[in-house]
């Protein structure tokens, strides 16, 4: 059994091989309840593959995966729904479990798309659909939520609101979150553990420690790293709603 009640997933030296080439190798990570773990890294660095291992979609070709989650919810990166299927937002919300209508509306309100409930999925814009995807995952009330670039195609203001929502959900549901994101500002300011991937784990740790790491700087460039550590410096405190410093 799991010695730590908060542990949801543990990957130990995992990797995925495809036609004798390793897509990712030597991945070890842990996801705990109420914590946000983020995966960052360039395109093709194995972020999605790693997330799929944590979700039990892909089998690891080495190492071991322990999964104690009882209810997982997933926001995949790319999802295209065939126009041959007449699928309304309401039907989509009920896709993998039955959720009562009040809760569906509540979840859609959180991502501000409650007015689209009877619309057909294929008539939604990219950003609207992304919001529906997030709402669906939240409505399931999972103990493990995996989000693969959840805000792609969402407008700028919406992006910030959705990231705040994700943070809020993490605390409210006390669920573990595995997030793949290119938004380094959010990653550095709001997540608990950052893993920097490039086919393997380049570096990992708290956001504060990671921005100083040399392999992080190498991967994201001096300029980005500098801005972010500056950013980090500015925000190693947090604010009350009225703007005063919380301590």
């Amino acid at each position: 059994m799991n010695e730590n009640n908060n542990l949801l997933v543990r990957l130990k030296d995992c990797g995925v091989q495809k036609s004798s080439k390793w897509i990712v190798k030597g991945i070890s990570l842990e996801i705990h309840k109420g914590k946000i773990v983020t995966l960052i890294g360039p395109n093709g660095s194995g972020k999605t593959t790693t997330a799929k291992m944590a979700l039990n979609i892909l089998k690891s070709d080495e190492g071991s995966i322990e999964n104690y989650s009882t209810k997982m919810a997933y926001v995949p990166q790319k999802i295209s729904i065939d126009w041959t299927m007449p699928l309304r937002v309401l039907d989509f919300m009920n896709l993998t479990s039955h959720i009562n209508k009040d809760e569906i509306i509540e979840a859609l309100e959180l991502t501000e798309v409650q007015h689209l409930i009877y619309n057909e999925i294929h008539n939604l814009s990219g950003g609207e659909f992304q919001r529906v995807l997030i709402a669906r995952a939240i409505a399931k009330k999972p103990d493990l939520l995996v989000l693969d670039e959840p805000v792609q195609g969402v407008d700028f203001n919406g992006e910030i609101a959705l990231y705040n929502l994700i943070k809020e959900i993490c605390t409210k549901l006390n669920c573990g979150i595995l997030l793949i994101s290119h938004d380094l500002h959010f990653v550095m300011s709001a997540t608990d553990h950052v893993i920097c991937l490039n086919g393997h784990i380049c570096c990992s740790g708290s956001p504060k420690s990671i921005v100083k790491n040399s392999s992080y700087i190498e991967l994201f460039g001096e300029h980005n790293a500098a801005t972010l550590s500056l950013y980090q410096h500015e925000h190693d405190h947090s604010h009350q709603t009225d703007g005063s410093v919380k301590n």
């Binding site: 979609i57 997982m72 007449p86 993998t96």
Partner: protein, 268 residues
């Protein structure tokens, strides 16, 4: 009541249409129409094997279709050919083997036209039992795996991640498809079965806006095609399969009208 061959055909046909409705919708959603075609072409091989070894036709067709489906999966893993090429390969080679075998079975009188296009005279009381019992089993199984199957149709990864076991339901779905082909081969014929799966579901797609509605309309238009098609077949003495499919096609054309009107209204 079942003494009359026409009543027998009608009762069996309606049963088939009810089963074909939901399966046809899945075939359309998953873009499996050519897969259905392959299974039905291989059904002819099943029929000839049934005659050779005096087996039950439906059973033999079911087994052959299932074997072909599994063969496809293993070929997909082993070769670099695209799915549609493999389907074509399997469809035509099984059809050819079936036709060659028929040549060997010259001592049995074969109604080849009947096998390829369906024959309502061939429907026996036992066939009615087979269609309704077999059909009920297919629908019950479908009901139990529906959530998994449907979610995997929308997105496989999402379904797998959220514990729906899509690999299991996909496999069962293939067997169900083989099952409905086995049940309908006598009435519709090997070459036209996919038509009865596809066309009612296509009609339904034109005029529905939720998955459930699409299934109900697919079933209803399937029943209508079977009933009208069989009457036409009796009146003007044509094969039952083609008559049913032609009626379905006419319904499809009619179902385009509301789409057309909607399009015109939106332009204004």
């Amino acid at each position: 009541m079942f003494d009359d061959f026409f009543i027998r055909a009608l009762v069996a046909g309606v049963g088939i249409a009810i089963v074909a409705g939901p399966l046809g919708c899945l075939v359309i959603w998953r873009r499996l129409s050519y897969f259905g075609d392959t299974l039905s072409h291989s059904a002819l091989l099943g029929v000839t094997l049934a005659y050779s070894f005096s087996l039950n036709i439906a059973f033999s067709v079911f087994v052959i279709s299932a074997v072909v489906a599994l063969l496809l999966v293993s070929l997909q893993k082993r070769t670099k050919l695209a799915g549609d090429s493999l389907l074509g390969l399997l469809a035509h080679s099984t059809l050819a083997i079936g036709l060659v075998l028929i040549g060997f079975l010259s001592y049995i009188r074969f109604d080849l036209m009947g096998l390829l296009f369906g024959d309502i005279l061939a429907v026996t009381t036992a066939d009615i039992g087979l269609v309704w019992i077999g059909g009920s089993i297919i629908l019950i199984i479908l009901y139990f795996i529906w959530k998994s199957l449907f979610s995997a149709t929308v997105n496989y990864d999402l379904s797998a991640a959220e514990g729906m076991r899509p690999e299991v339901s996909n496999f069962i779905f293939t067997l169900l498809l083989a099952g409905v082909i086995a049940l309908s081969i006598k009435m519709i014929g090997a070459l036209l079965i996919t038509g009865l799966l596809l066309i009612p579901a296509a009609i339904a797609r034109n005029i529905s806006n939720s998955p459930k509605q699409m299934i109900v309309i697919a079933i209803l238009s399937g029943i209508l095609s079977v009933v009208v098609g069989l009457f036409a077949s009796l009146e003007i003495n044509t094969s039952s399969g083609p008559s049913i499919i032609v009626v379905a096609l006419l319904l499809f054309i009619i179902s385009l009208v509301p789409l057309e009107i909607k399009g015109q209204l939106q332009k204004r």
